[in-house]
Assembly symmetry: C2
């Protein structure tokens, strides 16, 4: 069976747990953060650079790759791993989130979604079957079920109606999916409504997936509401399956998610803010473009041993940003991903030593809401 998951240790002081997820292209220690490579590349990085900072699994986007260069082309290239020169695990999302957040002129029916490309306006149709077909062509280690994901606020009736469609789609995904070296995860939806989340989990578990995404969070709601919803959703989920909180990736949210029993995360945040010159450090946020760093010849983060922090000063990185040089955003991207991956390493150590509460306190202090 693909996506064998083993819980290695359950924390006594929280719902956090240590796990190991065996995938076709390798083993992933959980809790884990997955860098996002939307268009078959983690923006500005080579695969070797990702490995050097300890990335074990990355995410790529079905919607984007379907539109450009096209999943059939990726299949011809030997699949996404070969196309992009990454031989470790990959997860592809279902395209659902992007269809609902990026594409235009959506028309949803029980059958699927018709939409216009955000690139050229061309019309396309995604259904559960189509999403599976595309994801099987891409050939990631983990595929995600096609779902409806709406932004906050989300009316009860709307959320309930969309949930029924999503559950029907989950069944159809499971039925259509046939690639044996690829795991298919279901996605829990239901907005911020406890009874809908409960129904979602129960129905998905009845279908039986080797892992479950938690969707529809981090879509605009206050963080407290997200944490609350995790507290009611996660305990309903199977203990022996990985739980993946989709689209979450700030240092504080990662730690809060782990405390509430989440195993996997992904987010564009670290790479996106890096390209604007904002970095997470052991001293909190550093916006390296600021004039105060013009003559700061120290590293971005004095407690980091990533490539960027070993070789470059804040003054140099600031110069690169002011001069609009690509190396600047390369260096901040390396650092931010290294910071998050290192944080998850510390999180795993802290779970083992029952010290995650202390680490959470530190992170909350560095990144106050």
């Amino acid at each position: 069976m693909v996506a064998q998951f083993e819980v290695l240790y359950n924390s006594q002081e929280s719902k956090a747990r240590l796990g190991r997820l065996q995938l076709t292209h390798g083993v992933v220690e959980t809790p884990v953060f997955m860098p996002v490579g939307t268009q078959a590349t983690v923006k500005s990085m080579t695969p070797e650079e990702l490995k050097r900072i300890g990335a074990e699994i990355i995410l790529s986007n079905t919607y984007h790759l379907y539109l450009r260069p096209g999943h059939e082309l990726v299949r011809e290239a030997g699949g996404l791993h070969s196309f992009m020169n990454w031989d470790k695990p990959i997860l592809t999302d279902s395209g659902g989130f992007q269809v609902f957040s990026l594409a235009d002129l959506r028309k949803i029916s029980q059958e699927g979604v018709t939409f216009s490309s955000h690139i050229d306006g061309s019309r396309h149709f995604f259904s559960p079957e189509r999403s599976m077909e595309i994801q099987m062509a891409l050939g990631a280690d983990i595929a995600m079920a096609f779902d409806i994901c709406s932004p906050y606020p989300y009316e009860y009736n709307e959320a309930a109606r969309d949930l029924e469609i999503t559950l029907d789609w989950a069944k159809r995904c499971k039925e259509y999916h046939s690639r044996e070296d690829q795991a298919l995860f279901g996605i829990v939806q239901g907005g911020l409504y406890e009874d809908l989340r409960k129904r979602s989990v129960e129905e998905l578990v009845a279908i039986d997936f080797p892992g479950y995404g938690i969707g529809g969070l981090s879509v605009g709601e206050p963080k407290d509401l997200m944490y609350e919803m995790l507290e009611v959703t996660v305990p309903l989920m199977p203990e022996d399956k990985p739980r993946y909180l989709m689209g979450v990736g700030s240092p504080d949210c990662l730690v809060e998610g782990v405390l509430r029993g989440v195993d996997m995360f992904d987010c564009v945040l670290p790479t996106r803010i890096a390209r604007n010159g904002t970095c997470w450090t052991s001293e909190g946020k550093v916006t390296v473009r600021n004039a105060r760093y013009a003559k700061d010849f120290g590293p971005l983060d004095p407690n980091c041993d990533c490539y960027t922090c070993r070789h470059y000063s804040r003054a140099y990185i600031r110069h690169l940003f002011k001069a609009e040089e690509i190396l600047g955003l390369r260096l901040t991207t390396i650092h931010n991903l290294a910071y998050l991956i290192n944080l998850m390493h510390r999180v795993r150590e802290a779970i083992k030593e029952e010290k995650l509460e202390a680490l959470a306190k530190e992170i909350r202090g560095l990144y106050p809401n």
Copy 2:
């Protein structure tokens, strides 16, 4: 003495020669191509990537670094090597070329040049002394004398007048320059006029520099005129000093320059065309954005073993360019620089074996005028 130069071998079939240039930060085998790091970074590359493709010396721009981040800041950072994390030789130009090609509202006098920054319009003054002061602060292995460089076509009277100023400035540079770990090269000017070039060389040699740039070529004139001017200028230059043809860097011009006795070259061309998706290969020019490469799963250049060609297909690189992903131009930049540096390696081998004419024939065939 800095910039010890030794001619190791003089070709029998042409004016080409093999040399070795000892600089403060290392030894450079000539003929050599120097990648350009205008703003203290070779666009999109790390220093380690440059070393991996065999770069032995890079160039950086005095005009740009003076304006941003400022030479005093670079001095405080411990000099350009330390600031940009490059421990091999660097050459800085004098700022002359940029003042005459980029800056606005120039006013030239015997004293120096007043100009407006191309960044913010602020007023500045460069003189020979000021250029030396800035270049000494930057601390490159080789500094260049401050000169007047005008584009083609260049009237005789104008060229003669500018040459007299440039020769006066060369003397003043030599007098002002005092950094003992830094070599100062003079620059031969005189437009496309043989007698002016002759006068320029004679006067500069009388001042006595450890190396000489050939300026004012590759400024818009036809290639044949440039080659002709090299044929009359180079033989006038001292045999025991390195000859540096400034701003030249296409494969065919490099080979033609070496055949005419040039030892050093620099140019933004390989990195600039790379960012537009154009690559030099053993099969000639490849514009990787073209639709014909959409399903070409072979490497950019089947006879290249650079990082890009070992790991990525034309189809993938084309996808990255179409999707406007930074990794695309990183990969083409790596390849183009590797291609030129490898070409110069082949040039040095060919000189040794008296086979440079054959190599030149091959290159002329790949890049017809």
